[in-house]
């Protein structure tokens, strides 16, 4: 058997390809910041991030295409809808034990996806949502974004004759990640963040000290929903469509992969974990083995799985997690 014959260097250095990977990694970083807040700092296991992304993305697109909202108004409206949805789900289910709450969130996300698949009049079903062709010229949900993106590219052309078309989205996504990390790290160090950590450690102890723990858990979930909605927008802009298949539970579990790689209770770990996971997943595309393409595709996931297992064995706290907190946590 021969070794990997070659990395196709041409593809490996393809700027457009890697910009796409970085956009996806950034989207996952945004989603996973919410998970970090929930799982790493509040101790609530949320398996429903894909559902929040879907609610955010679909709300935005439906508001633009069906209700005639401007894109810029639809964004905050969709964020509020998603946060409200999070509170609605959390209100009855956050009283449950952690594992039951996890099941509820997973089921809810699937319900959202299945509704999107079947409520064809509203969501386009399996055709997805992009443009509304009724009337004269088609209206697409990302028209406003395209014009902003084009003007950014126009500006960049002053220095760079042939700019990468994904550059504006890449900048916005990673600026969101950066702002998210700064803001979340700040609130985590405040008395509010301390209450969250106390709930993670022992909810009854926090209640016995006069903390309304349900309220804090709802806030944690609502912020996570907000981040999910933002990621949903970015994904919709990146793919230029909104389709039920893009919000399968696997999205949430990739985000958990990012969380584990980066380490619990570290926001910057989320960004590093996201880049690492997606570099691994996409970079392994270029490994050429003397086997069929389907087998190579499957092998990529096996490689990522092996890396995760190896990391768990050697460094169970992830790259930026604190081992002490992990050992003492139980």
């Amino acid at each position: 058997m021969s070794l990997p014959s070659a990395f196709t260097l041409e593809a490996f250095t393809n700027l457009g390809f890697w910009s796409g990977v970085l956009v996806v990694a950034g989207i996952y970083a945004v989603v996973t910041l919410g998970l970090q807040l929930n799982v790493g700092y509040t101790g609530i296991i949320n398996f429903g991030q894909a559902g929040f992304m879907a609610v955010g993305g679909y709300s935005m697109a439906i508001l633009v295409l069906e209700a005639g909202f401007s894109f810029w108004l639809a964004l905050p409206a969709a964020v509020l809808i998603t946060m409200g949805f999070g509170v609605l789900i959390g209100l009855p289910s956050l009283r449950l034990r952690a594992d039951y709450f996890a099941i509820v969130t997973l089921a809810t996300a699937e319900v959202v996806r299945l509704v999107a698949q079947n409520a064809r009049d509203l969501t386009g079903g399996n055709k997805g949502l992009y443009c509304d062709f009724e009337g004269g010229s088609p209206v697409c949900f990302d028209d406003s974004w395209r014009s902003v993106s084009d003007s950014i590219l126009g500006f960049v052309e002053n220095f760079w004759s042939d700019p990468e078309p994904l550059l504006p989205l890449l900048l916005v996504v990673w600026a969101t990640v950066a702002i998210g990390i700064v803001v979340l790290s700040y609130v985590q160090g405040t008395p509010w963040g301390r209450v969250l950590r106390a709930i993670r450690e022992d909810e009854d102890a926090a209640r016995a000290l006069g903390k309304n723990t349900l309220l804090y858990k709802l806030q944690s979930l609502a912020i996570s929903a907000l981040l999910g909605a933002l990621a949903g927008f970015f994904l919709a802009l990146f793919l230029a469509t909104i389709h039920p298949d893009d919000y399968e539970p696997i999205v949430t579990f990739f985000a958990f992969g990012v969380l584990i790689l980066g380490g619990l209770a570290s926001y910057k770990g989320v960004a590093v974990g996201a880049v690492l996971l997606w570099t691994l997943l996409e970079g392994t595309r270029f490994v050429e083995l003397p086997i069929s393409e389907e087998k190579t595709a499957a092998l990529r996931f096996a490689i990522v799985g092996a890396v995760l297992i190896g990391l768990m064995a050697l460094r169970p706290q992830g790259m930026f997690g604190k081992r002490e907190e992990m050992v003492l946590g139980d």
Binding site: W192, R197, A206, A208, L328
Partner: protein
């Protein structure tokens, strides 16, 4: 609503019933706790002491009853609301927040921190910082009183069992309680630390007028350190009074030596 005065009961529990399926864990139990007293709650295993504790502090919903604290009905209020009124409890198995530093454990418990509301983090950062400074200082002083100042920066999970008990008491005090309910504060700690804990209780009662209600199995502690003893058996309060009198009560002797225990 009457304003409670000295000598009046701070806590009045009446007719509490808590069933688990067919079992009446607490069966029409009632008692009073006087202000600035140290009251012990004793009884054989399974008498319903911890369940009653849980009901009084809002951690379990009872089927019936009444709990008045400082003259106000708190029965079925949520646990956090009861704690905020000044009735603070500890647990039989200590609940140190293991992966948090000892100092954070203490600071968490302080009331009236505006920075615990998320909007105040952005609207009132100065008030938040000011309160944090106050609370940090107060926490440092209390840790010193309890001999824990040397471990203030350590994670609470690294403390010994006895130190955790002390931390839990110190933390409860940070919440500025009027009434402290301690569930087996002496269990699992060495006699030296136990003695220190008892001294603290006496001192707090003397200096701050804090009221104590504690569950305890060590009879020597109960007899020597409480003003009043409440005895439970099979979900009911079977005797109540001064330690020496209660000890000689035939119903009590029967419950401990003869009955179902």
């Amino acid at each position: 609503m009457t304003e409670a005065t000295d000598g009046e009961a701070l806590l009045e529990v009446e007719g509490v019933v808590k069933r688990f399926g067919g079992v009446r864990a607490v069966d029409d139990a009632g008692f009073d706790v006087a202000r600035a007293s140290i009251t012990a709650l004793i009884g054989p295993n399974g008498a319903g002491k911890t369940t009653l504790f849980n009901v009084v502090t809002g951690f379990q919903r009872a089927d019936r009853g009444s709990v008045r604290f400082a003259g106000e009905e708190v029965f079925r209020s949520p646990a956090y609301a009861i704690a905020r009124r000044g009735m603070v409890r500890t647990f039989q198995i200590t609940k140190a927040l293991a992966a948090m530093p000892v100092l954070d454990n203490m600071m968490l418990a302080a009331p009236d921190q505006p920075g615990e509301r998320i909007r105040n983090l952005f609207l009132r950062p100065a008030a938040t910082r000011r309160r944090e400074r106050e609370v940090r200082e107060q926490a440092g002083e209390l840790l010193e009183v309890f001999g824990l100042e040397g471990v203030a920066g350590d994670h609470a999970g690294t403390l010994s069992g006895g130190q955790r008990k002390l931390l839990e008491l110190a933390r409860a005090l940070m919440a500025e309680p009027k009434l402290l309910l301690l569930d087996e504060p002496m269990a699992g700690i060495n006699p030296t630390l136990g003695k220190r804990l008892l001294e603290h209780m006496q001192r707090l009662r003397r200096e701050r007028g804090t009221t104590f209600l504690f569950v305890e199995h060590d009879m020597e502690v109960v007899m020597n350190h409480s003003d009043r003893v409440i005895v439970m058996a099979e979900g009911r309060v079977i005797a109540e009074g001064e330690p020496l009198r209660v000890r000689q009560d035939p119903a009590v002797v029967d419950a401990y030596l003869g009955g179902a225990a």
